[in-house]
Symmetry: C2
Subunit: 216 residues, 2 copies
Protein backbone atom coordinates (compact mmCIF):
# COMPACT_ATOMS: atom_id res chain seq x y z
CA UNK A 1 0.00 0.00 0.00
CA UNK A 2 2.28 2.75 -1.20
CA UNK A 3 0.43 5.89 -0.32
CA UNK A 4 2.73 8.69 -1.38
CA UNK A 5 2.19 11.76 -3.47
CA UNK A 6 -0.90 13.37 -2.08
CA UNK A 7 0.12 16.15 0.22
CA UNK A 8 -3.21 17.93 0.22
CA UNK A 9 -5.42 15.68 2.32
CA UNK A 10 -5.92 12.17 3.57
CA UNK A 11 -2.29 11.90 4.51
CA UNK A 12 -2.99 12.32 8.19
CA UNK A 13 -3.65 15.86 9.07
CA UNK A 14 -1.15 16.30 11.82
CA UNK A 15 1.77 14.98 9.84
CA UNK A 16 0.82 17.17 6.94
CA UNK A 17 0.57 20.25 9.11
CA UNK A 18 3.80 19.38 10.82
CA UNK A 19 5.79 18.93 7.63
CA UNK A 20 4.34 22.04 6.05
CA UNK A 21 4.94 24.24 9.07
CA UNK A 22 8.45 22.92 9.45
CA UNK A 23 9.27 23.61 5.84
CA UNK A 24 7.82 27.09 6.10
CA UNK A 25 10.00 27.89 9.07
CA UNK A 26 13.10 26.32 7.60
CA UNK A 27 12.65 28.14 4.31
CA UNK A 28 12.43 31.39 6.19
CA UNK A 29 8.85 32.09 5.15
CA UNK A 30 8.01 32.78 8.74
CA UNK A 31 9.82 35.83 10.03
CA UNK A 32 11.87 35.26 13.15
CA UNK A 33 9.86 35.82 16.32
CA UNK A 34 6.69 35.82 14.28
CA UNK A 35 3.61 34.91 16.21
CA UNK A 36 2.08 31.58 15.31
CA UNK A 37 -1.62 31.72 16.12
CA UNK A 38 -3.18 28.29 16.14
CA UNK A 39 -6.41 29.39 14.50
CA UNK A 40 -4.68 31.16 11.65
CA UNK A 41 -2.39 28.24 10.94
CA UNK A 42 -5.29 25.81 11.09
CA UNK A 43 -7.18 27.77 8.47
CA UNK A 44 -4.08 28.36 6.36
CA UNK A 45 -3.22 24.67 6.17
CA UNK A 46 -6.75 23.39 6.06
CA UNK A 47 -6.54 21.27 9.18
CA UNK A 48 -8.07 21.58 12.61
CA UNK A 49 -6.50 23.28 15.55
CA UNK A 50 -5.79 20.02 17.32
CA UNK A 51 -3.47 18.97 14.52
CA UNK A 52 -1.70 22.32 14.51
CA UNK A 53 -1.35 22.06 18.24
CA UNK A 54 0.28 18.64 18.04
CA UNK A 55 2.58 19.88 15.31
CA UNK A 56 3.60 22.87 17.41
CA UNK A 57 4.43 20.65 20.37
CA UNK A 58 6.60 18.56 18.08
CA UNK A 59 8.35 21.62 16.69
CA UNK A 60 8.94 22.89 20.19
CA UNK A 61 10.71 19.63 20.94
CA UNK A 62 12.95 20.25 17.97
CA UNK A 63 13.75 23.72 19.17
CA UNK A 64 12.21 25.44 16.18
CA UNK A 65 9.38 27.20 17.98
CA UNK A 66 8.92 28.59 21.43
CA UNK A 67 5.72 28.04 23.37
CA UNK A 68 4.65 29.99 26.41
CA UNK A 69 1.70 29.02 28.55
CA UNK A 70 -1.45 30.82 27.47
CA UNK A 71 0.65 33.15 25.41
CA UNK A 72 1.09 31.29 22.20
CA UNK A 73 3.87 30.09 19.96
CA UNK A 74 6.56 31.99 18.12
CA UNK A 75 9.35 31.13 15.75
CA UNK A 76 12.40 30.75 17.90
CA UNK A 77 15.18 33.20 17.24
CA UNK A 78 18.70 31.86 17.49
CA UNK A 79 21.12 34.48 18.70
CA UNK A 80 24.70 34.53 17.49
CA UNK A 81 25.95 33.20 20.81
CA UNK A 82 23.52 30.33 20.56
CA UNK A 83 24.62 29.66 17.02
CA UNK A 84 28.17 29.46 18.27
CA UNK A 85 27.21 27.09 21.07
CA UNK A 86 25.30 24.93 18.63
CA UNK A 87 28.21 24.84 16.24
CA UNK A 88 30.49 23.82 19.08
CA UNK A 89 28.26 20.82 19.65
CA UNK A 90 28.23 20.11 15.94
CA UNK A 91 32.02 20.25 16.06
CA UNK A 92 32.42 17.40 18.50
CA UNK A 93 29.53 15.34 17.14
CA UNK A 94 30.59 15.59 13.53
CA UNK A 95 34.09 14.83 14.69
CA UNK A 96 32.78 11.61 16.14
CA UNK A 97 30.95 10.80 12.91
CA UNK A 98 34.01 11.49 10.80
CA UNK A 99 36.15 9.23 12.94
CA UNK A 100 33.61 6.42 12.63
CA UNK A 101 33.20 7.03 8.93
CA UNK A 102 36.95 6.77 8.46
CA UNK A 103 36.88 3.20 9.76
CA UNK A 104 33.45 2.07 8.54
CA UNK A 105 32.97 3.57 5.08
CA UNK A 106 33.07 1.28 2.07
CA UNK A 107 35.34 1.93 -0.87
CA UNK A 108 32.41 3.07 -3.00
CA UNK A 109 31.46 5.54 -0.33
CA UNK A 110 34.98 6.89 -0.20
CA UNK A 111 34.80 7.34 -3.96
CA UNK A 112 31.63 9.40 -3.53
CA UNK A 113 33.47 11.70 -1.17
CA UNK A 114 36.33 12.12 -3.62
CA UNK A 115 33.86 12.99 -6.33
CA UNK A 116 32.22 15.57 -4.10
CA UNK A 117 35.61 17.08 -3.44
CA UNK A 118 36.34 17.68 -7.09
CA UNK A 119 32.85 19.09 -7.61
CA UNK A 120 33.38 21.51 -4.77
CA UNK A 121 36.72 22.60 -6.13
CA UNK A 122 35.10 23.27 -9.46
CA UNK A 123 32.23 25.22 -7.89
CA UNK A 124 34.69 27.51 -6.16
CA UNK A 125 36.76 27.95 -9.32
CA UNK A 126 33.60 28.89 -11.22
CA UNK A 127 32.57 31.27 -8.50
CA UNK A 128 29.20 29.68 -7.71
CA UNK A 129 28.63 30.07 -3.98
CA UNK A 130 25.12 28.61 -4.04
CA UNK A 131 26.23 25.39 -5.70
CA UNK A 132 29.15 25.22 -3.35
CA UNK A 133 26.87 25.62 -0.34
CA UNK A 134 24.68 22.78 -1.53
CA UNK A 135 27.66 20.51 -2.10
CA UNK A 136 28.97 21.50 1.30
CA UNK A 137 25.70 20.44 2.83
CA UNK A 138 25.82 17.19 0.93
CA UNK A 139 29.32 16.44 2.09
CA UNK A 140 28.45 16.84 5.74
CA UNK A 141 25.33 14.73 5.26
CA UNK A 142 27.28 11.93 3.61
CA UNK A 143 29.92 11.84 6.30
CA UNK A 144 27.24 11.54 8.94
CA UNK A 145 25.48 8.87 6.94
CA UNK A 146 28.64 6.81 6.52
CA UNK A 147 29.30 6.89 10.24
CA UNK A 148 26.34 4.65 10.98
CA UNK A 149 25.84 6.54 14.23
CA UNK A 150 22.10 7.06 14.26
CA UNK A 151 22.05 8.80 17.61
CA UNK A 152 24.62 11.35 16.55
CA UNK A 153 22.90 11.84 13.21
CA UNK A 154 19.60 12.56 14.92
CA UNK A 155 21.18 15.10 17.21
CA UNK A 156 23.00 16.77 14.34
CA UNK A 157 19.87 17.06 12.25
CA UNK A 158 18.12 18.71 15.13
CA UNK A 159 20.99 21.13 15.59
CA UNK A 160 21.30 21.93 11.92
CA UNK A 161 17.61 22.73 11.65
CA UNK A 162 18.14 25.54 14.12
CA UNK A 163 20.94 27.05 12.09
CA UNK A 164 19.32 27.54 8.69
CA UNK A 165 19.13 31.27 8.96
CA UNK A 166 22.73 31.71 10.05
CA UNK A 167 23.99 29.20 7.54
CA UNK A 168 22.37 31.15 4.77
CA UNK A 169 24.05 34.35 5.81
CA UNK A 170 27.39 32.63 6.06
CA UNK A 171 27.31 30.93 2.68
CA UNK A 172 26.98 34.11 0.68
CA UNK A 173 29.91 35.84 2.30
CA UNK A 174 32.60 36.77 -0.23
CA UNK A 175 35.85 34.89 0.20
CA UNK A 176 34.31 32.34 2.52
CA UNK A 177 34.11 29.44 0.01
CA UNK A 178 37.75 29.72 -0.90
CA UNK A 179 38.68 29.66 2.74
CA UNK A 180 36.62 26.66 3.69
CA UNK A 181 37.41 24.63 0.59
CA UNK A 182 40.81 23.61 1.88
CA UNK A 183 39.31 22.51 5.16
CA UNK A 184 36.74 20.41 3.36
CA UNK A 185 39.32 18.80 1.16
CA UNK A 186 41.38 17.97 4.23
CA UNK A 187 38.37 16.28 5.78
CA UNK A 188 37.87 14.15 2.71
CA UNK A 189 41.51 13.24 2.49
CA UNK A 190 41.82 12.12 6.11
CA UNK A 191 38.70 9.98 5.84
CA UNK A 192 39.94 8.47 2.61
CA UNK A 193 43.19 7.50 4.26
CA UNK A 194 41.13 5.83 7.02
CA UNK A 195 42.71 7.77 9.82
CA UNK A 196 40.01 8.32 12.47
CA UNK A 197 41.99 10.67 14.67
CA UNK A 198 43.10 12.84 11.79
CA UNK A 199 39.54 12.90 10.42
CA UNK A 200 38.16 14.08 13.74
CA UNK A 201 40.85 16.72 13.94
CA UNK A 202 40.12 17.93 10.41
CA UNK A 203 36.40 18.25 11.06
CA UNK A 204 37.04 20.14 14.23
CA UNK A 205 39.42 22.50 12.52
CA UNK A 206 36.82 23.17 9.86
CA UNK A 207 34.01 23.89 12.27
CA UNK A 208 36.31 25.97 14.43
CA UNK A 209 36.72 28.08 11.31
CA UNK A 210 32.96 28.30 10.92
CA UNK A 211 32.64 29.46 14.52
CA UNK A 212 35.20 32.15 13.92
CA UNK A 213 33.31 33.29 10.84
CA UNK A 214 30.05 33.37 12.79
CA UNK A 215 31.44 35.92 15.20
CA UNK A 216 31.29 39.36 13.60
Amino acid sequence: MPKEARPSTGEQAKQHAFAQLRQAILHGEMAPAQRLVENELAEQFGVTRASIRAALIDLEGQGLVERIRNRGSRVRVVTVEEAVAITECRMVLEGLCAAKAATLASDEQLAELTELGTAMTKAVADGEPVTYSELNQELHTKVREFSGQRTAVDLLERLNAQLVRHRFQLALRPGRPQHSLNEHLAMIETIRSRDPQAAEKAVRAHLAGVIEALRD
Copy 2:
Protein backbone atom coordinates in the same frame (compact mmCIF):
# COMPACT_ATOMS: atom_id res chain seq x y z
CA MET B 1 1.33 34.05 42.92
CA PRO B 2 3.33 31.01 43.92
CA LYS B 3 1.15 28.11 42.98
CA GLU B 4 3.15 25.07 43.92
CA ALA B 5 2.23 22.00 45.86
CA ARG B 6 -0.99 20.86 44.32
CA PRO B 7 -0.22 18.08 41.96
CA SER B 8 -3.78 16.87 41.61
CA THR B 9 -5.41 19.57 39.54
CA GLY B 10 -5.29 23.19 38.55
CA GLU B 11 -1.58 23.04 37.82
CA GLN B 12 -2.11 22.73 34.08
CA ALA B 13 -3.11 19.26 33.22
CA LYS B 14 -0.69 18.58 30.44
CA GLN B 15 2.40 19.58 32.37
CA HIS B 16 1.27 17.49 35.28
CA ALA B 17 0.66 14.45 33.12
CA PHE B 18 3.95 14.97 31.35
CA ALA B 19 6.00 15.20 34.51
CA GLN B 20 4.27 12.26 36.11
CA LEU B 21 4.57 10.01 33.10
CA ARG B 22 8.18 10.94 32.64
CA GLN B 23 8.97 10.19 36.25
CA ALA B 24 7.17 6.87 36.03
CA ILE B 25 9.19 5.84 33.00
CA LEU B 26 12.48 7.07 34.41
CA HIS B 27 11.91 5.31 37.70
CA GLY B 28 11.29 2.11 35.84
CA GLU B 29 7.70 1.79 36.98
CA MET B 30 6.71 1.18 33.41
CA ALA B 31 8.14 -2.04 32.08
CA PRO B 32 10.16 -1.72 28.91
CA ALA B 33 8.04 -2.04 25.80
CA GLN B 34 4.93 -1.72 27.92
CA ARG B 35 1.93 -0.46 26.05
CA LEU B 36 0.80 3.01 26.98
CA VAL B 37 -2.90 3.32 26.24
CA GLU B 38 -4.08 6.89 26.25
CA ASN B 39 -7.38 6.17 27.94
CA GLU B 40 -5.80 4.19 30.76
CA LEU B 41 -3.19 6.84 31.42
CA ALA B 42 -5.80 9.57 31.34
CA GLU B 43 -7.84 7.82 33.99
CA GLN B 44 -4.80 6.88 36.03
CA PHE B 45 -3.50 10.43 36.21
CA GLY B 46 -6.88 12.09 36.40
CA VAL B 47 -6.48 14.20 33.28
CA THR B 48 -8.10 14.11 29.89
CA ARG B 49 -6.83 12.22 26.92
CA ALA B 50 -5.76 15.36 25.12
CA SER B 51 -3.30 16.14 27.88
CA ILE B 52 -1.91 12.61 27.84
CA ARG B 53 -1.63 12.85 24.10
CA ALA B 54 0.37 16.07 24.27
CA ALA B 55 2.59 14.57 26.93
CA LEU B 56 3.22 11.50 24.79
CA ILE B 57 4.20 13.63 21.82
CA ASP B 58 6.64 15.45 24.05
CA LEU B 59 8.09 12.23 25.38
CA GLU B 60 8.44 10.90 21.88
CA GLY B 61 10.54 13.95 21.08
CA GLN B 62 12.76 13.09 24.00
CA GLY B 63 13.16 9.56 22.78
CA LEU B 64 11.50 8.01 25.82
CA VAL B 65 8.46 6.57 24.09
CA GLU B 66 7.76 5.22 20.66
CA ARG B 67 4.59 6.14 18.83
CA ILE B 68 3.22 4.34 15.82
CA ARG B 69 0.36 5.67 13.77
CA ASN B 70 -2.96 4.25 14.91
CA ARG B 71 -1.09 1.67 16.91
CA GLY B 72 -0.34 3.43 20.12
CA SER B 73 2.60 4.30 22.27
CA ARG B 74 5.11 2.12 24.05
CA VAL B 75 8.05 2.68 26.35
CA ARG B 76 11.05 2.73 24.11
CA VAL B 77 13.57 -0.02 24.71
CA VAL B 78 17.20 0.93 24.34
CA THR B 79 19.31 -1.91 23.06
CA VAL B 80 22.89 -2.34 24.17
CA GLU B 81 24.19 -1.14 20.82
CA GLU B 82 22.07 1.97 21.12
CA ALA B 83 23.33 2.52 24.64
CA VAL B 84 26.85 2.35 23.28
CA ALA B 85 26.06 4.81 20.51
CA ILE B 86 24.43 7.15 23.00
CA THR B 87 27.41 6.94 25.30
CA GLU B 88 29.71 7.73 22.41
CA CYS B 89 27.77 10.93 21.89
CA ARG B 90 27.91 11.64 25.60
CA MET B 91 31.66 11.12 25.37
CA VAL B 92 32.28 13.91 22.91
CA LEU B 93 29.66 16.26 24.35
CA GLU B 94 30.79 15.89 27.94
CA GLY B 95 34.33 16.28 26.67
CA LEU B 96 33.30 19.64 25.26
CA CYS B 97 31.66 20.62 28.54
CA ALA B 98 34.69 19.61 30.56
CA ALA B 99 36.98 21.65 28.36
CA LYS B 100 34.76 24.69 28.73
CA ALA B 101 34.38 24.13 32.45
CA ALA B 102 38.14 24.02 32.79
CA THR B 103 38.40 27.56 31.51
CA LEU B 104 35.16 29.04 32.81
CA ALA B 105 34.61 27.60 36.27
CA SER B 106 35.03 29.87 39.26
CA ASP B 107 37.30 29.01 42.16
CA GLU B 108 34.32 28.18 44.36
CA GLN B 109 33.04 25.81 41.73
CA LEU B 110 36.39 24.10 41.52
CA ALA B 111 36.27 23.68 45.28
CA GLU B 112 32.90 21.96 44.94
CA LEU B 113 34.43 19.48 42.53
CA THR B 114 37.29 18.75 44.91
CA GLU B 115 34.81 18.15 47.69
CA LEU B 116 32.86 15.75 45.51
CA GLY B 117 36.05 13.89 44.76
CA THR B 118 36.80 13.22 48.40
CA ALA B 119 33.20 12.18 49.01
CA MET B 120 33.40 9.71 46.15
CA THR B 121 36.65 8.29 47.44
CA LYS B 122 35.04 7.78 50.82
CA ALA B 123 31.96 6.14 49.33
CA VAL B 124 34.13 3.61 47.53
CA ALA B 125 36.20 2.96 50.63
CA ASP B 126 33.02 2.37 52.63
CA GLY B 127 31.67 0.11 49.93
CA GLU B 128 28.49 2.03 49.23
CA PRO B 129 27.78 1.69 45.53
CA VAL B 130 24.45 3.53 45.66
CA THR B 131 25.95 6.60 47.30
CA TYR B 132 28.79 6.48 44.86
CA SER B 133 26.41 6.31 41.92
CA GLU B 134 24.56 9.37 43.16
CA LEU B 135 27.78 11.31 43.64
CA ASN B 136 28.89 10.18 40.21
CA GLN B 137 25.71 11.59 38.76
CA GLU B 138 26.21 14.80 40.65
CA LEU B 139 29.75 15.19 39.40
CA HIS B 140 28.74 14.88 35.77
CA THR B 141 25.88 17.30 36.33
CA LYS B 142 28.14 19.88 37.93
CA VAL B 143 30.71 19.69 35.17
CA ARG B 144 28.01 20.27 32.61
CA GLU B 145 26.58 23.11 34.64
CA PHE B 146 29.95 24.83 34.98
CA SER B 147 30.51 24.69 31.24
CA GLY B 148 27.79 27.23 30.58
CA GLN B 149 27.00 25.39 27.35
CA ARG B 150 23.23 25.28 27.42
CA THR B 151 22.88 23.53 24.09
CA ALA B 152 25.21 20.73 25.08
CA VAL B 153 23.55 20.42 28.46
CA ASP B 154 20.14 20.04 26.85
CA LEU B 155 21.38 17.35 24.53
CA LEU B 156 23.11 15.50 27.33
CA GLU B 157 20.03 15.53 29.52
CA ARG B 158 18.03 14.07 26.71
CA LEU B 159 20.62 11.37 26.15
CA ASN B 160 20.97 10.55 29.82
CA ALA B 161 17.23 10.13 30.19
CA GLN B 162 17.39 7.28 27.71
CA LEU B 163 20.07 5.49 29.67
CA VAL B 164 18.48 5.17 33.09
CA ARG B 165 17.91 1.47 32.84
CA HIS B 166 21.41 0.67 31.65
CA ARG B 167 22.99 3.03 34.12
CA PHE B 168 21.23 1.29 36.94
CA GLN B 169 22.55 -2.07 35.87
CA LEU B 170 26.04 -0.71 35.53
CA ALA B 171 26.23 0.99 38.90
CA LEU B 172 25.62 -2.14 40.92
CA ARG B 173 28.30 -4.15 39.21
CA PRO B 174 30.95 -5.37 41.68
CA GLY B 175 34.37 -3.85 41.17
CA ARG B 176 33.03 -1.14 38.86
CA PRO B 177 33.18 1.75 41.37
CA GLN B 178 36.82 1.08 42.21
CA HIS B 179 37.65 1.06 38.54
CA SER B 180 35.88 4.27 37.63
CA LEU B 181 36.97 6.21 40.70
CA ASN B 182 40.43 6.88 39.33
CA GLU B 183 38.96 8.11 36.08
CA HIS B 184 36.67 10.48 37.94
CA LEU B 185 39.47 11.81 40.08
CA ALA B 186 41.52 12.41 36.94
CA MET B 187 38.64 14.41 35.48
CA ILE B 188 38.45 16.56 38.56
CA GLU B 189 42.18 17.10 38.66
CA THR B 190 42.51 18.19 35.03
CA ILE B 191 39.62 20.64 35.38
CA ARG B 192 41.11 22.02 38.58
CA SER B 193 44.41 22.64 36.84
CA ARG B 194 42.44 24.52 34.14
CA ASP B 195 43.74 22.42 31.29
CA PRO B 196 40.91 22.15 28.72
CA GLN B 197 42.58 19.62 26.47
CA ALA B 198 43.54 17.33 29.33
CA ALA B 199 40.05 17.65 30.78
CA GLU B 200 38.46 16.63 27.52
CA LYS B 201 40.83 13.73 27.23
CA ALA B 202 40.11 12.57 30.79
CA VAL B 203 36.35 12.65 30.25
CA ARG B 204 36.70 10.71 27.06
CA ALA B 205 38.88 8.11 28.71
CA HIS B 206 36.30 7.72 31.45
CA LEU B 207 33.36 7.28 29.11
CA ALA B 208 35.38 4.98 26.89
CA GLY B 209 35.66 2.84 30.00
CA VAL B 210 31.91 3.01 30.50
CA ILE B 211 31.38 1.88 26.92
CA GLU B 212 33.66 -1.06 27.45
CA ALA B 213 31.75 -2.00 30.58
CA LEU B 214 28.46 -1.73 28.72
CA ARG B 215 29.48 -4.41 26.28
CA ASP B 216 28.99 -7.80 27.88
